[in-house]
Structures are given as C-alpha cells and as structure tokens.
Symmetry: C2
Subunit: 657 residues, 2 copies
C-alpha cells in the first residue's frame, strides 16, 4: 500500500451504556482517543476488571461506542515520587507496576491501550537540573524504563509522554533514546504545543531521527500567530492532536482557527485525542462536532482519489531513453484527461498560425517523436480535424512494443489519415522530408529530467527552419522542503554498502506530509528549437560542438518558518505553444492533470533553518558523453553553513544517454 | 610510523651555481620550496631541458642547493584566457599543455615539482558570478581538469591553487571536489590567508573532508590581531607556509610576530615556500634566516623525543580488567621517571601520618592492588626504607604472567622484606588482615576510564576503616578540540558495516596538530575510600545497593575562536595523598611524566563553532551489570544546534567489568 497513512489502531469499541462515570476508581486523567475517520465494527475485550487503574480502561471502553482506544496510566501514580529526596533504593519496591497483564488478551492491549507514562516523574525531571540532581535523573530513568518495559511486555502500540522543558531537552531525549532501543514494538509519543517545535526538533536530532519517537500536537487555547507555525507540524510524523474540553465552547464547537486547523489535520488522517472530561454526554458532543467538521470537507476529487495511494510514496523517475516503457505505464499516462487536450489545443493553434502564414494548400507535416501508443498522434489528428487543416503525420518511436499498437491504429481508426509509422530512435532517423511541427512528450517532473533537451536537440534536424516544436520551452522550479515523512521514507532505502546513495537520488513523489519552506523559484529553462543549434555548425570533429545542455545556477530562498529542511521539491512549467501552458507548479497547475507528481532531491542530513534566513541552493545539471546528472547543495548565507555537494559526479544517481 | 608528519617530498637538490637568473625564459612566479627541517643528500634530475616553462624547474633547481622542490606552472599561461568572452570551442586547442613529460623521469616529477594551476583562470572565476557566467565557469573547469590531469599524468605530488573569493566558495569547491575524485595520486593545495579560515572550512565541508585537499597558509604583512586566528590553522592539515620576499626586512629578518608564527610552524614540520624573488642571494639570505630561527628553538626534551612517534597516533584505551597487560606495556609504564617517585612520596607521607597517629610499633600493612611487575611495591619499599617506618606488604595481581616477575623479586631483591604475593582479582580476594594503606595505579587518561572506581570500590573491603587509599581522588577534565588531523585519523577506522563505531570510540592520543577551543573544565570526581560505602550497607539482595559510579554532567564552554570542533579532549588530575598530586592536565602537568597521553572523544560530524558561542557538553558515565561506558553530545546554546547522543547504550565503545 504505497504512501497511505497507516492507522496504528484496529477497530475497538463497546456497547454504549450511557452512564456517567462517578465511579471513585475512575481516573480523570484518562484520555479517550477518538478516531474520526472511520466507524469500525465492534470488538469485545476479553478480560475481567480489577478495581485499580485498569478499571479505567474498561470503564472508558464501556461508556462509549466508536472510540478507538484509551490513553491511560499503566502504573499507579505514587505520591512519594513527587519527593525529590526519596531514596532510590526504596522506590523500586514501592513503585512496582500494579495490576496484571492477564486483564486483557494481548490483541486487546495492542489495539486499545496507549500507555501514559507517569507524568509526575517527568515533571520532576523538567523542574530540576539533572546534572546537579543526578539521583532524580536516575530515578526518572528507572521509572521510565520500568514503565516502558511493562508497556512493551503488554505489546502496547505506544506510550505517551509530556514534553520536555526548554532546559531539559537533552537529558529527556537521551532517556528516551536509550530506552527506545530496548522497547521492541512500542512507540513513544510526546505531547508538544505548537510553539514547542524547536524542542521537538532537538529531541528528534538527539534521537537520530528514530522513527519510533513521534510528536502529538496539543492545541492550546491561543494558537500561534502565524499559520506556518502550526502548518509545519504536518511535515512531522505527528500521531495525534490532543483537544482539551476547555477548548470547546458551551455549544461544543471550536474557534474558527481551531476548526480550520482540525480540518487541515483530517487531510492527513491524524487521530484526535479528547481530554479533560469523563462525562459521556460531553464526550459525545465533542465527537459529534468533530464528525460534523469532517463532513464539511469536500470529498476527494477524482484526481485526489487517484493520487491518494501515492501520497508520500517514493518512485524512481523514468529513464525512457534507457528503458522501454511498459503497457501499464503507457496506460496510466494516456488516462490523463487534461494533458492531451492541452496538446490538441497547442497543435490546433500551431496549425492555424502556419496556415495563416502559408500560401500553399499542401498538408503540413507533423512528426510525433516518441509516439508511444499514439495519444499525441490522436491529439494531432483531432486538432487537424477540428481546424480543418490537413496534416501529414509521422509517428516515430524506438519501442517495438508500442509499434504493435501504432500499426493496429493505422490499419483501423487512422486508416483514412496520412500516418506513417517509423520504428527508430528520433536521434537517428533519416526523414524523407522535414517537419512543420515536431510534437513530443518527453518531460519529467522537473522538466528536463527525462532528457527532453538531449532528445529534442537530436531530433531538431527533423524540423524545418522556422518550424514549431511542441513544447516550445520548459522551466524547472524548486523550493526547500520540510517533510520528516519523506526523509524517513528515503532512509528506508539506505544500505550499509552505499550509505549516501539513497540521499543522493531524486524521487518522484506526491508529497502529502510536507511543506515548502519558501517561495518556489525558477531553476533552468530549455527552449526548442534550440537557438544554439541555429547558429552553430556541426563539423563532426569535436564533441563540444554539440549544444551544451549543462547548467549551473544559484537559487536564493528566504526561509518563511523555522523548521527542518529535508530536501528540495521540484516542479516544471511548460509552454506547449504560445499561451497553451502545461504546469505542475502549484500556482499555475493544470487543473485535473495527474501525469506528474513533484520531484524531490533529498539532503543527506536534514538541516535546521530559521525564519528569515537566506539560503542559496546551488544546483547543477551536468552532461558528459554517457549521462546527465544533477548535483545540489545548500549554503546558509546567514550562518555560513554549507552542506557537501550531493551526487558528485553522478555517483549515486544519473540519467543514461 | 605512528603519528609522524610525513613529508611529501623526498630529497632533491643540485649543485649551486650562484648565477643570477636574468634568463628571459625564467618565469618570475616560480616559487621555491624550502624544507627547513632537514638537509637532504643530493639527487640528480635525469632530464634534458627545453626552453619553455619547464626550464624554470631546471633553473630553479640549478641555482641553489638544499631547496627541496619548486612550485611552477605546468602549462603556458595564455593571455586570451583573460577574456571572458572567449569561445570555449577554440580554447581547448590553444590552451593545450606545453612541453613534454619526457623532460624528467617520473621519480623526479613526483619528488621535485608542485604544479601551479593557471591562476588567471581562477581569478576570472573569482571575479564572476558563475551562475550568471556559465561559460566562464565551464572554461575554468576545463582548464583546471586538463591541468590536473596533466599533473596527475606526471605523478606530481600536488598542485597549488589560489584561494576562492568569499562569493565563489561553492563553485570553486565543487570544481575541486569533482576533479579530485579523478586525479589519482596528485593532491590539491589551496593558498589561504589566515583570515580566510571560514572559506577554507566551507571548502572542506563541501568537499566532504577529502584528505586530498589541503590548505597552504600564505602570511600577509599584517597578521591577524588574535594569535588564535593563526593558531587554529595548526589544527588543519596545512602543507606549507608561503613567505613572500616583501615580508622580510632589509636584513632578511622577519617581524617578531612572523618569526614567532614560523617557530610554531616548525614544531609541526610544516614546509616553507619562499616567493617573490629569483635572486639567488636573496633566496639564500631568507633561507639562512629561517635556519637560524629554527636553530633557536630548544631541542626536543627526552619526553618529547619519546612522544614524537605517537603524535596524533590513535590508540585504544587499555582494558586492564578484561585483558592482561603484556610485558612491553608494563615496561613502558615502569620507565616513567616521575610517576613512581610521586607514588613513593605519597606512601612516605601517608606512613609518616599513620606513625604520628599511632602508638603501636608493629609495621603498617600496605596492599598494592594491581601490582603488575612490582613498581608500586618498589616505591612502597623505598618509602618505608626512607621513612624508616616498617611495613608489611601484600602485592595482589590477577595476571599470572606478572606473578612470575613478582615471585622472582620476592626471592631476590625483596628477600629481606615482608612481602606476600597474592594471585587474585582484587575484587575477590579474602585477606587475612586489613590494610592501612591501599596503593593502586588504575587510572586511565580520563581518570576513571580504566574502571578504577569499580576496582577500588571492590577492593575497599581490604582497607581498615579510616585507612588510606593512594590515590585519594581523581578528577577528569574536558575541552572542545579542533583537530582535522585527528578527525582524518579516526575516519581511517570507519567501516561500512558500522559507520558510526569509529566516531563513538575514545582514543588515547598525543594530540599534536590541534587546539583546545575553550578553557579546560572539570567533569567527574571520584574519591577513595568511597564515602558511600561507609554509610550504605550491602545486603546482597539488591544490585542497586552497590555504590553508584554512574555520572551525568553538563559542562559549559565558551568558544574562544571561530573554528571547527572535531571532538573533546580529556585529561585527569589526581591526588595521590594530600598535596602529592599527579596530573596530565596541561596547567598542572606533572613535568617529565609520560605514562598518559590525553584521551579524545570524537564527534561523528565536525561542527563549526563561532567565537563567543556557549556550548554545553553533556557527558554521561553509565554503568550496568557488565560494562561501563560514556555517552556524549554537544548543545550549542546560541544556535540551538544539538548533535545526536554519541555511543548510546555503549553500542560502539564500552569497558567490560
């Protein structure tokens, strides 16, 4: 299942009994987790109940339907833990974990309960300087490790921790990092308020970007001023949003700002954790409001439904020059409802212009280079039919498998058209005549990254002087990207033999959990026909006399929000002909088109960038005899920080010519 | 050859002919490299000479004796390279490298000539914005790659480049980095002025700390204000210092500041490159002054001579608990002229104090735990003889090989003394009586890092209540360390299977090319007898009732100079008894002692730190049932930057109990 946001929880709920929970054993700090995205079938808990903290699990589950799990303490909170002077030697005996693991079956534990670590212990840690109060530090460590081991023993999916104080991030993170390597299946969730992003960032770095440690976003009454301060959290692997009852107004609605934020979070399938009450009616009202809020979201469009399985799923860019595309790939491309309409419009406009300039009545020659299974041939034919301007068509492709279909169409639907099918690489074919219009679809997500410049330069000799190339030009774009999700996906590709390779490779990916950290800026532009080829002559003697499609540019960015930069996200814009544009740049996106996802160039080591800092992204497109490759690096002009050059000499990632 | 600074050049010189060089073919930008550290035997160049740039090599070698190599252009500088609008296509033909590789034999090329890359080309690069002048950039790249390939073809040991401008560090470094991976044996030297450290630092990072790229320090007339601004260069892999003739006064002497800097550099065997004249007399006068300057340095002390082979040579700390020391190790330790004298003084002082407090006339019981081949036994006996206070001596060791020697001494030189030899681990031995004095030498370079606390806690039951432990206490110290040399040495230990391990291991090393970036600060102190053991009782039931030698502390440092931090350098101070101190802390060093080199805790990724920044170093000493290990990390309080925790859970480096 590519790119989907897997829910950690499976179904659980119990018959609602609607009684209020005035049971004195009920622990009011139990949080009830509400998964707003689905109503799951019931499942019974196979366990008895003992009158202690575990009763809260049972109680919590018994009071309500449709809540997916509870967050509950997994040990009895001991008042003596509050004492900073407690002798550690006594603590181990007194604080032994209450209850028994036989209350529920493992499948219940692992589906229903998120363990809450003794918060008191961490508050003590937060208040003290652990390097001066080493016993406190050791005590918290012991409590935490015991509880985490117990949680792990119960196969709990996660435990929840309070956030560190600003002063205690390091010892806090080190405790976690040390413990997490021993706790098997259980993950660690840490509550953060939106303005605690830097603390989270430090925790993450100290813990070496462990995927077992995730933030939970706790919404305060006053949300941060800038939306980007909350928005950046959606690039983080947040596992849930905590909503306290006091955020809700008397009619159980939220402020506009809170509501907007929640709606954003629903797009990422982020769970909601309701807190601050055990009153069943209140919980239901809160939940009901959230359900309403979600239902107000427009349903996913057809394109979004198509894209959803690919959210944050990394794909390698195509190498159509080296490999022949398969049938399935052609099929996906051909299904795009927008792209070929744009091509048809472009050919139409070009034909009309040619007709207006020409006195001859003979048909115009259109060559489709890289015809594949014919979508551009069809678009050209439609343009000709619609404009009533006759054309003579050549369909050129090097893929013998595509040829089968092209010949089939020639015999059937194109039998009345002047279509000639040529089995050749466009760079080698010797045409019987030159083209008025050269039509191609060689663009990748970054424009030139599937070697369109090299192919079209090679095919330019097929075009009459003054002839038209469709596309006429294309430009690549970049922005610094924040996406811990993408970073952790890239990390899964790392091998010990080539530890840098995965981070020096570009990926085509529909980035879902991520954010641009600056405006999107132009990188390279290529124009066809290539004006360099008009001026300069081939003499066949010197390799350097072929047009040079290598590039180097420095793109300046201003950081919009203090965040982590995990790489660069790239797009393209393309002029098919005159004002017929095709774009995956978010601001000029060709609505409804789904042929291209953005491209991502990762950074080997994520870098922390601060609001207002000026970054220079250095970007190279390199060409040698056999290959094309990109290199990239980041220079922080404010701090002087530089990254190494990524993908030097194409050592990790190259496009073969 | 551990740790020495290998000279890249072997001997070469030629008969002096003392003629001035008014030859019109002589290129005045030839630099003559003078190796001040040695006079090497003559060697003839086996080559004829052609009248072009290579003649300068011959000329340069012919004019003077004792110069080790020349820095000379390896291609003819073409005036048309200065044009920014030159058509690249012509350049390749015109700029072909002049001369032939048959002028000299390869052994001469590789020993005598450092190639000077066309500086004009790099000046053009420095003056232009390469992202806007891509042709210039490509041209410089081409020139550079051609020249570097030619240099590589000639097996030149190095080529010399001018420094980048502040604006062009990135394209400059990328050119280098790209080319260097292709140039085989040949290294790249870049000239920097002392105030260009940040540019060098960026080049180094962009080039992934390549060991093939080194700086050459070019001294300006006005040296930087703070000595640390030049001093930090000695932590860098600088390959030479360039001295222009105009730095010399009319009597061919240098300013005091320049002279001092040169003398510092001689300690690191850094080569000197003389420049700015081809007048033989002038060159000789300059050289003669430098020889004098060097001769003014005091000769190496015996300790320095002993240490020299170990400069910057990484050793693993001993694990005496786990391994038995071998004879050679014992021998090295026993040769220390200071250490055992200090022990003797301490035992002497302790015996006198005991005698003064005691009314009994029976001998005092001295136990040497970890007696090895007996140096502490000897020191104790000398103390007893000297103080005329009789002692009864137990020599305890677990190493059966050491026992052989102890028994030999007992039969021979100690035959009249009351010495009992015990073959046992000090933690297990059941003594027939308790000791008045417990003598041990279990300290490592970081004090506690050879598990002295654990051993002495285990041996404390051998000591009478109120008895004396020698040593009484010890304290470890740390400072942030700049040393590219140490970093590159650590890098040589990196394996692809465990890429972090080498960087998470401590090394014992006599850091030579390096600098402390802040004052040296206290870390942990251990006291013996351990007062915790006096208060707390064993009950055999709970592991946690043994004394806890784990520690955690946060050590603040203020950065004294903008530089790169490659790790932490550690020392110890120890009180043997009362005011008998033993120390490897630079400020309190026990002069003449050579038993311990400092310890280095590396950082996996060097970090750039700026003058005045506040760093918090978090340092842990962790103990579990089977092992002791350190963890460390750095937090820059000014920028919020944190490193990961190093050596988490002792995954890379541990001391076995």
């Amino acid at each position: 299942m590519p790119g989907g946001q897997p829910s950690e929880k499976s179904a659980n709920s119990k018959q609602q009994d609607n009684q209020t929970t005035d049971d004195p054993n009920f622990d009011p700090i139990v949080d009830i987790v509400h998964d707003v995205k689905s109503k799951k079938p019931n499942a019974q808990i196979h366990a008895g109940v003992e009158p202690n903290v575990f009763q809260t699990v049972d109680k919590a589950l018994s009071i309500t339907d449709h809540f997916d799990f509870v967050v509950t303490p997994i040990s009895k909170s001991e008042s003596n833990r509050k004492s900073k002077h407690l002798d550690m030697r006594h603590m181990m005996v007194k604080n032994c974990i209450q209850g028994t693991d036989m209350l529920f079956r493992t499948s219940s534990w692992s589906n229903v309960v998120v363990g809450k670590i003794d918060e008191q212990a961490f508050h003590i840690l937060a208040d003290s300087d652990p390097s001066n109060n080493f016993e406190i530090y050791q005590k918290v460590q012991l409590i935490f490790e015991q509880e985490l081991q117990w949680a792990s023993h119960l196969s709990l999916p996660a435990v929840l921790l309070p956030s560190p104080s600003k002063q205690n991030v390091v010892p806090f993170a080190q405790l976690l990092h040390r413990a997490v390597s021993k706790c098997g299946y259980t993950n660690i969730w840490i509550r953060f308020q939106p303005d605690q992003w830097e603390e989270w960032n430090q925790v993450r770095i100290i813990c070496e970007h462990s995927t077992k440690i995730s933030p939970i976003l706790e919404l305060p009454e006053n949300l941060p001023e800038r939306d980007s301060q909350t928005e950046r959290w959606f690039g983080e692997p947040i596992r849930g949003i905590v909503l306290d009852k006091n955020l809700f107004q008397s009619d159980y609605s939220l402020s506009t700002k809170h509501a907007f934020l929640l709606q954003r979070s629903f797009k990422f399938d982020i769970q909601v954790i309701l807190r601050g009450t055990t009153n069943v009616d209140e919980l239901f009202n809160m939940r009901s409001y959230l359900d309403d809020l979600k239902s107000q979201l427009p349903p996913l469009t057809e394109v979004e439904l198509f894209e959803k399985p690919y959210w944050d799923y990394l794909q390698s860019p195509l190498q159509p020059l080296m490999d022949n595309l398969d049938s399935q790939t052609y099929e996906v491309f051909e299904r795009d409802p927008i792209k070929y309409k744009l091509y048809q419009d472009a050919v139409h406009r070009a034909l009309v212009d040619l007709k207006n300039q020409s006195s001859s009545s003979s048909p115009f020659t259109v060559m489709v280079v890289g015809a594949g299974r014919g979508p551009l041939v069809k678009a050209s034919i439609r343009a000709s039919v619609q404009s009533k301007i006759p054309i003579k068509l050549y369909a050129v492709d090097k893929n013998p498998n595509a040829l089968v279909t092209l010949y089939h169409f020639k015999k059937t639907i194109w039998s009345k058209m002047d279509v000639t099918i040529i089995h050749s690489d466009m760079r080698d074919w010797n045409p019987p005549e030159l083209a008025d219009i050269l039509v191609s679809e060689l663009l990748g997500s970054f424009g030139d990254n599937e070697l369109s410049p090299e192919c079209l330069d090679g095919a330019q000799r097929l075009l009459k002087k003054g002839g038209i190339s469709i596309p006429c030009d294309y430009t690549s774009f970049l922005s610094p990207l924040n996406s811990a999700k993408i970073y952790s996906e890239v990390k899964t590709f790392v091998t010990s033999a080539k530890p840098l390779k995965a981070f020096e490779t570009a990926y085509v990916v529909k980035v879902h959990r991520g954010m641009c950290l600056s405006n999107i800026k132009k990188v390279f532009t290529f124009v066809h026909p290539n004006p360099e080829l008009d001026v300069k002559k081939y003499d066949g003697l010197d390799l350097h006399l072929v047009p040079d499609n290598s590039r180097y540019t420095v793109v300046p960015f201003t950081v919009m929000e203090t965040s982590t930069m995990h790489g660069l996200i790239g797009y393209f814009e393309c002029t098919l002909y005159k004002d017929v544009m095709m774009s995956i740049h978010p601001k000029t996106f060709s609505k409804g088109m789904f042929s291209w996802f953005p491209i991502v160039f990762p950074l080997a080591t994520p870098i922390t960038v601060k609001k207002g800092e000026e970054l220079n992204v250095h970007f190279w497109r390199n060409v040698d005899k056999g290959k094309v490759w990109y290199e990239w690096m980041v220079h922080n002009k404010d701090t002087g920080f530089v990254t190494p050059v990524h993908n030097l000499n194409g050592r990790s990632y190259k496009l073969s010519l």
